[in-house]
Symmetry: C2
Subunit: 237 residues, 2 copies
């Protein structure tokens, strides 16, 4: 049992080291011996766990996919705990979307495995068939915005699909720009993005309940809402 | 003279082949001999022009930077030909921005050198100090939106800087997503993005003159405007 635990720990250390080095130097450049040295294990131990660099990349990707799943599933769970996505005061599915984009950027800021998973999704040679985190993210965003439309929270002249494309493009852009300059992954940057976009996406009634800076765990619910949305009149000509 | 022309042609062929292979297989994987073989020149000829793969990457990047410069400079020139960016009917700087994003995505769709230049800007190891096309693009977008604000075309509660960040993130996202799926670089995708965003950015007066699908060369001017913006009422609650 202790041996099995040690094996799991070694495997995780290898995945973490690989993720760090893939992000820093790029997948193609990194050698297996650099990865094992960084993880503090022998080359033999690495080869016991992973037959090739591709196998290691696939494991990094799988770990990242799990994290993305947790981020998106938790977003929904929080909304349900707050009385269901359509509940009054919870902000509905649009707020779930805002919260989850904040969780994703926070993840990209702090979690090298998540970052490496997205980077691997960008590489010319995919780590595995269908192994595209951005594609999974897109599917999730499309689902949440379709739900927001069903809740009647989307402005009448906004197609959920168009809104999804804009949100996916922007979040992928924040992630890509953030790999060079962490400013792009900051909460304030994303908050200003939502403060810009939400008045266009949401009906006026839905807009009032929305928090562009996102609600964190434990703060869900109508009266724990942080800085409320400043509803400003659209400036006409 | 003929010899000099031949040298220029060889150099360009090498840059083009390198750009193609960098995009297809990634910078780190491609060998110099693959590049020279694709360009139909000898290894010796390659080494005559470029001392290293890094030197070749720098040349690809420089060619891409020139193309980006042309795209952004031409955008402004077209606007001025149509009576100055602030001229009635021309749509002002906001239209210049729309047109130029269309030109950029068209470039990324068709021009492998521009695409490679943006890819090289993303790579963990920069090809040269300050060699970041996305940073240059950001600076340009910020300038145009500041100008739109001076023209009074931006809605009162929209900060030019926030608008610039949203546009840069989205266009970088379209580019990144487009490297796997060309759909993201299509004119219709970008047109729907602008149809979503412009009613939020522009004053109602400015909005009427704007063409989300962009104006192409030769069509600038008030009465040659393609599908006009459908001004739809914001759906309140």
């Amino acid at each position: 049992m202790a041996q099995q635990e040690r094996a799991v720990r070694t495997r995780n250390a290898l995945i973490e080291s690989a993720a760090e080095l893939f992000c820093k130097d790029g997948f193609d450049v990194v050698s297996l011996s650099t990865i094992s040295a960084r993880a503090g294990v022998s080359n033999g131990a690495l080869h016991f766990h992973f037959a090739s660099k591709a196998a290691l990349a696939a494991a990094v990707w799988e770990a990242a996919a799990q994290r993305l799943r947790r981020i998106t599933v938790e977003g929904r769970a929080r909304a349900e705990a707050a009385g269901g996505p359509g509940a009054a005061g919870s902000g509905g599915s649009l707020q779930v979307l805002v919260d989850t984009t904040h969780a994703l950027l926070r993840g990209l800021r702090h979690d090298v495995i998540l970052r490496a998973g997205f980077d691997l999704s960008e590489s010319p040679v995919p780590v595995a068939a269908g192994a595209d985190l951005r594609r999974r993210w897109q599917t999730w965003v499309e689902g949440v915005l379709a739900e927001a439309a069903r809740e009647g929270a989307l402005a009448r002249d906004v197609a959920p699909q168009d809104a999804a494309h804009a949100v996916v493009a922007a979040t992928v852009g924040f992630g890509a720009l953030g790999s060079r300059n962490a400013q792009w992954l900051s909460q304030s940057m994303l908050t200003r993005f939502w403060a810009l976009l939400l008045p266009r996406l949401a009906t006026e009634a839905a807009l009032k309940g929305l928090v562009p800076s996102g609600r964190r765990e434990g703060t869900a619910g109508a009266d724990a809402v942080p800085p409320p949305f400043r509803v400003t009149a659209r400036s006409g000509a």
